[in-house]
């Protein structure tokens, strides 16, 4: 692990179930496990924002929770700097703040836990943090219920910053918010990013948001990292067919081109993934090799891709 690496995931997997129940044992059945994450590898370097994008159930939040140390992987290893302080911001600002605590105690908690400030300096620090996230120090006396979703997310950010993190994990931090509130929170986060040089892992299903926030993007499908590349490369020269189709599927603001681009087929049952390449059942380029052989995560000049082929996907697929 070099000094510049904040977090290294090496072939990290997470499986659920898989232990035979009494009934399965009695009938000699094999248990039906679920491989939520399969052999995911990436490194986050100091000062960068790494984005993870994918649809619900793809495993991106499981990866986030393993990166945060909240979940133990069932395979592979996670390397982290032992002295590193991590903080996490969650999607739902309604369930991630304790409703029985006043805002000032919520924000002060990481300061107290990590003993970051002398006792008598805590109040002043909390007031400063509340101002930094666009709230007033007087808001500290209120309970979370008094605030809107956007304001609660500001409280979550103040709490995360209170822990003076080296590494921030954000799991869909703006997905529950209206677009104008989302823009305010993204502005706020970008400001802190620039000012504090925070290293972060930003997880979202929203491609424009991750494009705005991340330096590099990993694309996750059915528990696998299928592509990893610098942000603008992902959008201008995607290498994996899923990345291309995901970019095309989100309706943009162009009212002159009203074409819609759904991804063909349905998401396979995650407990019974396809053989070979996990995306082959929906991939317009799939052939026998894709069913027979699981592609390796290959290093290409733009990044890494888990596909057998070098496809030119720089143009949107025909409608």
């Amino acid at each position: 692990m070099s000094l510049d690496d904040v977090l290294i995931l090496n072939a990290v997997s997470k499986a659920y179930g898989g232990r035979a129940s009494m009934i399965e044992k009695a009938f000699g059945r094999r248990p039906k496990g679920l491989q939520a994450v399969r052999e995911v590898s990436f490194t986050i370097r100091k000062g960068e924002v790494m984005g993870l994008v994918g649809e619900s159930g793809c495993g991106k939040s499981t990866i986030a929770r393993m990166a945060a140390g909240l979940l133990a992987p069932t395979g592979g290893e996670i390397g982290r700097n032992a002295a590193m302080r991590e903080q996490m911001i969650f999607q739902d600002p309604f369930s991630s703040l304790n409703p029985r605590w006043r805002v000032r105690d919520i924000v002060a908690e990481p300061i107290r836990t990590h003993r970051l400030r002398p006792k008598k300096a805590i109040d002043e620090r909390v007031a400063e943090l509340l101002r930094q996230v666009g709230l007033s120090p007087e808001d500290g006396a209120k309970f979370p219920q008094a605030f809107s979703g956007g304001q609660r997310q500001r409280i979550s950010i103040a709490r995360a910053l209170a822990g003076e993190p080296d590494f921030l994990i954000l799991d869909e931090p703006t997905s529950a918010l209206d677009v104008s509130v989302q823009a305010q929170i993204l502005d706020l986060l970008r400001g802190f990013q620039a000012e504090l040089h925070l290293t972060s892992l930003f997880i979202t299903h929203n491609l424009p948001v991750v494009r705005l926030m991340a330096d590099r993007i990993g694309v996750v499908y059915l528990g696998e990292l299928v592509e990893l590349a610098p942000t603008e490369t992902i959008f201008h020269r995607p290498r994996h067919p899923y990345t291309r189709l995901l970019i095309d599927a989100a309706p943009d603001l162009d009212a002159t081109d009203r074409s819609l681009h759904p991804i063909p087929g349905d998401l396979p049952d995650p407990s019974d993934p396809p053989s070979g390449c996990v995306f082959r059942t929906r991939c317009p380029f799939a052939n026998e090799r894709c069913a027979a052989e699981r592609p390796e995560l290959r290093t290409v000049e733009t990044g890494q891709v888990r596909c057998h082929y070098d496809l030119d996907l720089s143009q949107r697929a025909a409608a």
Partner: protein, 327 residues
């Protein structure tokens, strides 16, 4: 011009709290032409869903309609008895909500729900209804329709359920479909499927549609015309291309700039609107947007701008942005 399918005039709804009435919808006015898709866009609490609920007369206390006329193909819905209104819902107005379970009965099979709905509103025998139900399940793109017919809602995925809700909403051949955030709870790949389906069915049946969404991307792809809601009022209405290409109201422009998107040279930009939409009971005097508006002047703080009737692209603003002439 043919008569609008839906004609809403001066619709106002209040919320009663401690004996006082607070406006929730205020003077909402719009038409939907036959075969047209009207998009209602705005943020949570702006009144777009409330408009849908008021049209189908499902307001419950403390919410109450205080004024307004609602005409469906010329018939005044606001004057109908509760009993006759029940026959309008489901028959002449179909609806699709964000959460498909709102529209589905969890203990009845999908087939039973479809055939019940059709037989309540259309003169069909049991056998005919069954046949049509299977045809609808095929039409909304569900694999193995006989299996889905026999299934209970919980046995299906979210995307499959939303397809069934669309079939339920359209199977009684309504004049108007109200779709309230029909794709918001869905993933982007499923969302594009659902929008494609809605578009195909709209083209086949010619049913006029009121599409409520907070997503300007969905508006751009689906709506013929748009009404923008802010703090309980329609603040701008225009054909979709003109609204997105050259918005007149500073709030509409702000909403567009707040949506992260690449600009002409490919750099990502996002621009937040300062402040927040006022809540119920906290409306400022004058224009409800003025505390957040860069263009606001004295008159905006004192007098509420009416929705000017400028022939198709109208804005409730004293100092609208200049619409660029597209040659």
């Amino acid at each position: 011009m043919s008569e609008p399918v839906l004609k809403v005039r001066d619709l106002s709804v209040v919320l009663e709290r401690n004996g006082r009435d607070f406006p929730v919808l205020d003077g909402v006015t719009f038409d939907i032409a036959p075969g047209e898709v009207l998009g209602l866009v705005g943020e949570s609490g702006a009144g777009k869903s409330m408009t849908g609920i008021a049209i189908i007369d499902l307001l419950v206390p403390p919410l109450r309609r205080t004024s307004g006329t609602i005409a469906l193909s010329g018939e005044r819905l606001d004057q109908l008895s509760a009993k006759r209104m029940r026959r309008v819902r489901g028959k002449r107005i179909g609806f699709v909500f964000q959460d498909p379970m709102t529209s589905l009965n969890p203990v009845l099979s999908i087939g039973r729900q479809l055939t019940d709905t059709m037989r309540r509103h259309l003169p069909l025998t049991r056998g005919e209804a069954r046949e049509r139900a299977i045809a609808w399940l095929t039409r909304v793109g569900l694999a193995n329709p006989p299996r889905v017919f026999a299934a209970a809602p919980h046995e299906l995925s979210g995307g499959q359920r939303q397809r069934i809700v669309i079939a339920l909403a359209l199977c009684a051949e309504p004049d108007l479909l109200i779709a309230d955030e029909p794709t918001t709870a869905l993933d982007v790949s499923v969302q594009a499927h659902m929008l494609t389906l809605l578009r195909e069915l709209h083209e086949e049946t010619g049913t006029a549609m009121m599409l409520i969404t907070h997503d300007l991307g969905v508006i751009a792809k689906m709506a013929d015309r748009v009404a923008v809601f802010y703090a309980g009022r329609v603040i701008e209405t225009a054909p979709t291309g003109r609204l997105i290409g050259a918005p007149l109201h500073p709030y509409t422009a702000g909403l567009m700039q707040a949506t992260p998107a690449p600009d002409a040279d490919g750099a990502m930009r996002v621009r937040a609107i300062p402040g927040a939409m006022p809540g119920i009971g906290a409306l400022p005097p004058g224009c409800a947007f003025h505390p957040r508006c860069e263009r606001a002047q004295a008159i905006c703080r004192e007098e509420r701008p009416p929705l000017a009737d400028a022939g198709g692209h109208d804005a409730a603003c004293y100092f609208p942005l200049v619409e660029e002439v597209v040659s």
